[in-house]
């Protein structure tokens, strides 16, 4: 799952982001077992960039003194980390059990057909990326889809198509 982009405040430049990553690393290096904070550093990086850019991972390797290969191994092991930039809007389809027994598979199929992408991909126009999610804690509203950080529940294939179109319309404005 991607973290929210920081849209409300003025967007940071790449140098500012990198400075923040460095600052965070400097902080964790003062703790006991600093290597154990690698995942926390990756979280911070993704929070800032929306994904884990290769250059930044190289930087982390240097600053923390951890081999790049190890960092890649960790980054690819965990589903939460994106290795490519996500779309402008991230659609997470809940594939938890409650949603599944209430028709999540059809919802996912509808979205795939509508966006013409597979799970894990970004649409050509960069507007949407699609990812699976586990229980979003809103089973009472199953089936559920989260777009960015907003939950949409009690969906039907028709409703979800309308929803996507709303986002498209907004983007065209």
């Amino acid at each position: 799952m991607a973290t929210q982009t920081q849209e409300l405040t003025a967007p940071l430049t790449d140098e500012q982001k990198l400075a923040q990553v460095r600052e965070f690393i400097a902080e964790v290096m003062t703790h006991e077992h600093p290597d154990s904070y690698l995942i926390a550093v990756l979280h911070r990086t993704q929070e800032l960039y929306g994904y884990l850019p290769t250059e930044v991972m190289d930087e982390i390797a240097q600053e923390m003194g951890i081999p790049t290969a190890h960092i890649w191994g960790v980054a690819t092991f965990y589903h939460y980390f994106n290795l490519a930039p996500p779309g402008k809007h991230v659609i997470s389809v809940c594939l938890g059990t409650a949603c599944y027994v209430r028709g999540a598979a059809q919802i996912l199929q509808t979205i795939k057909d509508e966006l013409k992408i597979d799970v894990g991909d970004v649409t050509e126009d960069g507007l949407f990326s699609l990812q699976p999610a586990r229980c979003l804690g809103a089973c009472g509203l199953a089936p559920v889809v989260m777009i960015d950080d907003k939950i949409h529940g009690e969906l039907t294939p028709k409703k979800v198509t309308q929803l996507i179109n709303q986002y498209r319309k907004q983007a065209n404005k």
């Binding site: 926390a40 939460y80 059990t97 209430r102 229980c135 939950i151």
Partner: protein, 596 residues
């Protein structure tokens, strides 16, 4: 004259998502407008367990529960209820179901119907972000009692005597684990709270932390005292931002109050805590994988022994318990093991929290004493199956568990009875399945999940689950062959025996339990090419009924021109040509196409 009101707005994830925050803003503005701000308190609560009726606002005194609210309802509530003193029946949640009854008397841990709140005792009652609220309900009294009146050995003995078993799934006796960790010499030792909540259909741990984070902090501090550790770590899913925020705040507030840190409450016990985030890997719920993840590595399990209690985090003795296990600890210390043992069954003491969901009228978080039957949970607490549909199965234990049919509904649930029936207690996911779900498809759903989450370290799990998934896929596609069921069973048993960790060892369970309890459905798929729930696309036949108005929409979308018919005439599908793509079914606006 206007009375003094106390208003609680549910601030759990589900209610937040259905607009609770906006309600709060509007509510405050309305109170201001009517000059009621000083006479009314507005506080937030964790999940009240009625998520399907969110957003929820409770008006006290009187415990009027308003549900399914929109912003537009707020002015009316303020004017009618708060100003004129007339509760609005139209907006109130009327049914006197158990949540409601529980709610009217909350704070009082007695039996109410089938529910009994022990670990969730404060959820929905206190403002989870207020340490004062927690303190006012005997919060941190158990910690005080432990560090001032009890020796660490006495605390361990009390937990052992309580009969508490691990709520993370395996049900290992908690006291035994504590004793092992306490027996290790040397420092440092670690205590860990496992809040990785892996079951994809469950949200107990999340709600418990969101609703009452201090209970976890207190439980862990007591655990630290008992086993001789001064460092606690909460390993929590990154996907739970609200829970992360609340537990972080709880730790900070506890520290500020001297309830964490050096020389807690004047004793020589020191203990502090930190949060570590998971990153979306199911296997990291397994304790040795979790430890690797905290160490900053890939979350791969390793063989046990050595158990974490001997060699855990950074090679040191480590005590790992689940969120709900920790939440029981303050209660046991404060009310005593003797009281705790009065609740539950012979082999399983206390209560269990379930996230009840799926095809059931009331979905949400419930807590019942061990020994409650599945029927009581699903029909009395859950309100039964919606839409007049027939019950088919109840799934417990998520991807490691199984599906139980009707005949087991009167089983009193505890660790042992569920295992005997062919499922497991698990961490508390409970999904009700009705006649509209296909059991082969459900088994495939879980296996897809575990297959995808296998860490790949050992071959039986990595490759075996792949083979099983191939067979299940072909069965659901109508290409099942005689002997497939035997093959699934053989593979399943091999994977159970030969896998390194619990993920692999339990991955075949959903398949094996559905074969055991719903064998006929497998056979129909394989031999009759039929899916009775009409879920498996390739096994349904599409037919156009007399509802057809002849609009021709289906004819246009059919990729193989299998549909014939003229304007305003009922269309027909040529079954020999049809490739069962389902496009016509999705397109028809008149529900004239039936799956048979």
């Amino acid at each position: 004259m206007t009375a003094t009101y106390r208003i609680i707005v549910c601030d759990g994830t589900s209610c937040l998502n259905s607009g609770a925050r906006t309600l709060t803003t509007v509510l405050k503005a309305q109170l201001d407008k009517h000059g009621l701000t000083d006479k009314t308190t507005v506080s937030l609560s964790g999940c009240l367990g009625m998520c399907d009726k969110g957003p929820i606002v409770v008006v006290n005194p009187g415990y009027t529960l308003y549900g399914s609210l929109t912003e537009g309802d707020i002015p009316e509530i303020v004017e009618e209820h708060l100003v004129k003193g007339k509760p609005i029946a139209r907006l109130a949640i009327q049914e006197d179901h158990l949540y409601n009854r529980f709610f009217r008397v909350f704070g009082d841990a007695k039996f109410f119907g089938h529910q009994m709140r022990v670990t969730l005792r404060n959820c929905g009652i206190i403002d989870p972000e207020s340490i004062d609220d927690y303190l006012s309900l005997r919060g941190y009294e158990a910690l005080a009692k432990a560090v001032t009146d009890m020796t660490p050995q006495q605390v361990v003995a009390e937990v052992e005597k309580s009969g508490l078993r691990g709520r993370g799934g395996a049900g290992f006796p908690t006291g035994t684990k504590w004793k092992f960790t306490a027996a290790q010499v040397g420092t440092p030792k670690y205590v860990i709270c496992n809040a990785d909540e892996g079951d994809p259909g469950a949200f107990m741990d999340r709600s418990a932390i969101e609703g009452d984070p201090h209970t976890i902090v207190e439980g862990m501090a007591i655990g630290g005292y008992a086993v001789g550790s001064s460092k606690g770590i909460v390993y929590i899913r990154a996907e739970y931002p609200l829970a992360i925020r609340r537990i972080t705040k709880a730790i900070e507030d506890a520290r500020a109050h001297g309830l964490l840190g050096e020389n807690i409450l004047g004793s020589d016990f020191s203990f502090d805590m930190e949060i570590r985030l998971g990153a979306g890997a199911f296997v990291c719920g397994e304790e040795t994988a979790l430890i690797h993840s905290i160490e900053g590595a890939r979350g791969m399990p390793r063989p046990r022994p050595p158990y974490p209690s001997v060699q855990g985090l950074f090679g040191r003795p480590t005590l790992i318990n689940n969120v709900e296990t920790w939440a029981n600890v303050p209660v046991i210390v404060l009310d005593g093991a003797n009281w705790f043992r009065t609740v539950g069954t012979e082999t399983s003491k206390g209560t269990k929290v379930f996230a009840l969901a799926g095809k059931v009228v009331n979905t949400g978080l419930i807590e019942v004493p061990m020994g409650t039957t599945l029927r009581q949970i699903i029909y009395d607490v859950g309100g039964g199956i919606p839409g007049g549909k027939a019950f088919k199965a109840v799934q417990t234990g998520g991807p490691s568990g199984g599906c139980l049919p009707e005949q087991y509904l009167d089983t009193p649930i505890d660790y042992d009875s569920l295992a005997k029936a062919g499922s497991i207690m698990g961490s508390g996911g409970m999904i009700v399945i009705d006649e509209d779900s296909c059991m082969v498809d459900i088994a495939k759903f879980f296996l897809e999940f575990t297959q995808n989450e296998s860490c790949g370290k050992c071959t039986p799990c990595r490759e075996g689950t792949k083979r099983m998934l191939e067979i299940l896929t072909r069965i659901t596609e109508g290409k099942g062959q005689a002997g497939d069921i035997d093959k699934l069973e053989r593979l399943g048993k091999m994977i159970q025996k030969a896998s390194l960790c619990g993920l692999g060892q339990s991955a075949p369970n959903p398949v094996l339990s559905t074969i055991k309890n719903f064998r006929a459905e497998y056979e129909e798929h394989i031999h009759d090419k039929r899916c009775r729930a009409r879920v498996c696309e390739n096994l349904v036949t599409y037919e156009i009924t007399e509802k057809c108005v002849g609009c021709g929409a289906c004819r246009k979308v059919c990729p193989v021109t299998a549909i014939a018919g003229g304007p305003k005439k009922q269309h027909v599908i040529d079954q020999d040509k049809c490739i069962k793509c389902g496009q016509c079914f999705k397109t028809c606006k008149f529900e004239a196409i039936a799956k048979v």
